[in-house]
Amino acid sequence: MQIKKYSLCYGDRILAQDFEAEFFNHVVNVLTGANGAGKTTLLDFIAGVGPKQAKGQKINVPKQQNIAYQLQHIHFFTTLSVGQTINMYRQIGNCTLEKSGSTFQTIKRQALDKIWSVKMGQLSGGERQMVLTYGQCLLEKELYIFDEPTSGVDVTNSKVILKMIASLVQEREKMVIMTSHNIEQLTDLPVKMINIG
């Protein structure tokens, strides 16, 4: 999958000009760059919901309905319990993954079972991110996008989240693109770093 001649200008402010990147499905593709460099906008562009100002060519990017996109700092429906949220993902996605995937079973047992009946609104930011990442990984899509999945998350939960994201590549050979500022957390993972800006 490739992005070619990607440009993004807001008036006089040029965030990207003729940016090119190639993404692979045997590694986690990590977009890095300073705050305001346009990482989220590039993810939006790849997902087909970018601003009008973002221009460029997309080669072999899956159709929108085959893209899972985990947004940054989304609280989701706060009145739903963790169990209800995961059940929604199970019903939409592939619920057999949980039975066959050891990563799912371990994470559910170690992290999710104890907060299963807690409302999403009562969770910490890190716990919410973990629940939603778990749910996203239950979906059966071609491309998975995660925008700052470990931002504001403690070390333990970050490891769980990154383990789930890595399992998409290692166990299911899916294409994964994520953004991150915490490069040091990625040392144990198969990653390809792509710097923007």
């Binding site: 919901v49 309905q65 996109y69 947004l71 429906f77 739903l80 929604m88 019903q91 979906l139």
Partner: protein
């Protein structure tokens, strides 16, 4: 289909968690109806006259309009602004699935609301008529889609979420204020139906006439049919313009 079923559960849990909205949609109009008609409680059976049907139609119109505006349209705008809509869009892959799920849940809630209101009407008038319950259900099913479609015009407004509730209150006020504008000719009748409240009142009244008096007013039914098509066309355009982008904040 699985996606819609899963989203229906989510929307049902979410709607039932906010019971305050039922105060505005159902409890207030029911209290007002009781206040205006409390005298009938001590009287024997009250027959369903044309006037009774018209009064009931107005109350149905309020309940239907307010429920669809608040629970479907404003809810989607709110979800768009806080990013839930974008998140859901990439889970199910289609805005129509999100809209359908939310709409179906509210349609069930709307039917329950009208059922409760109609049971109050039956209690006050001491006149149990199954036709009232059936007409209420069919009225809801008939007008809910076109009214939701025309209300989707609100998706086009560049209004912040903080302002949308004020805007909806003003809109309801104006719509109710203009329902009894003089209609001097057929075109006036048709134009007045472009007010969704009038459209719901007229549809409800026609259904009540049919169920209670077995009367079908051909010209009125044709006018309602034309307006339904207009609502659907305008609504389709408005929904096609609905994007995941919030107006105020980047999500």
């Amino acid at each position: 289909m699985n996606e819609i079923k899963a989203l229906c559960k989510v929307y049902l849990v979410n709607t039932l968690s906010n019971k305050f909205v039922f105060l505005f949609n159902l409890v207030l109009p029911t209290i007002y109806f009781l206040y205006k008609n409390i005298r009938y409680l001590s009287q024997p059976k009250v027959a369903f006259s044309h006037q009774t049907m018209m009064v009931v139609s107005y109350f149905w119109a309020y309940i239907i309009m307010v429920t669809l505006l608040n629970n479907v349209i404003v809810a989607i705008i709110s979800q768009r602004e806080n990013g839930f809509y974008k998140q859901l869009f990439f889970i199910v892959g289609s805005k129509w699935k999100i809209l359908t799920a939310n709409f179906l849940v509210q349609l069930v809630i709307l039917n329950v609301e009208l059922l409760i209101f109609n049971l109050v009407v039956i209690g006050v008038t001491h006149n149990f008529h199954i036709s009232l319950l059936i007409a209420g259900m069919i009225a809801t099913l008939s007008v809910a889609v076109p009214v939701t479609f025309i209300s989707s015009l609100l998706f086009l407004l560049k209004v912040k979420i903080e302002s949308i509730n004020v805007l909806v209150t003003i809109l309801l006020f104006v719509l109710f204020l203009t329902i009894n504008l003089p209609k001097s000719h057929t075109m006036g009748d048709l134009l007045s139906l472009l007010n969704p409240i009038t459209y719901i009142v007229d549809t409800s009244y026609q259904l009540l006439l049919f169920f209670f008096n077995h009367v079908i007013q051909g010209a009125a039914t044709v006018r309602l049919g034309i307006v339904t098509i207009i609502y659907l066309v305008i609504g389709w355009f408005a929904i096609s313009k609905l994007t995941v982008h919030s107006i105020a904040d980047r999500v």
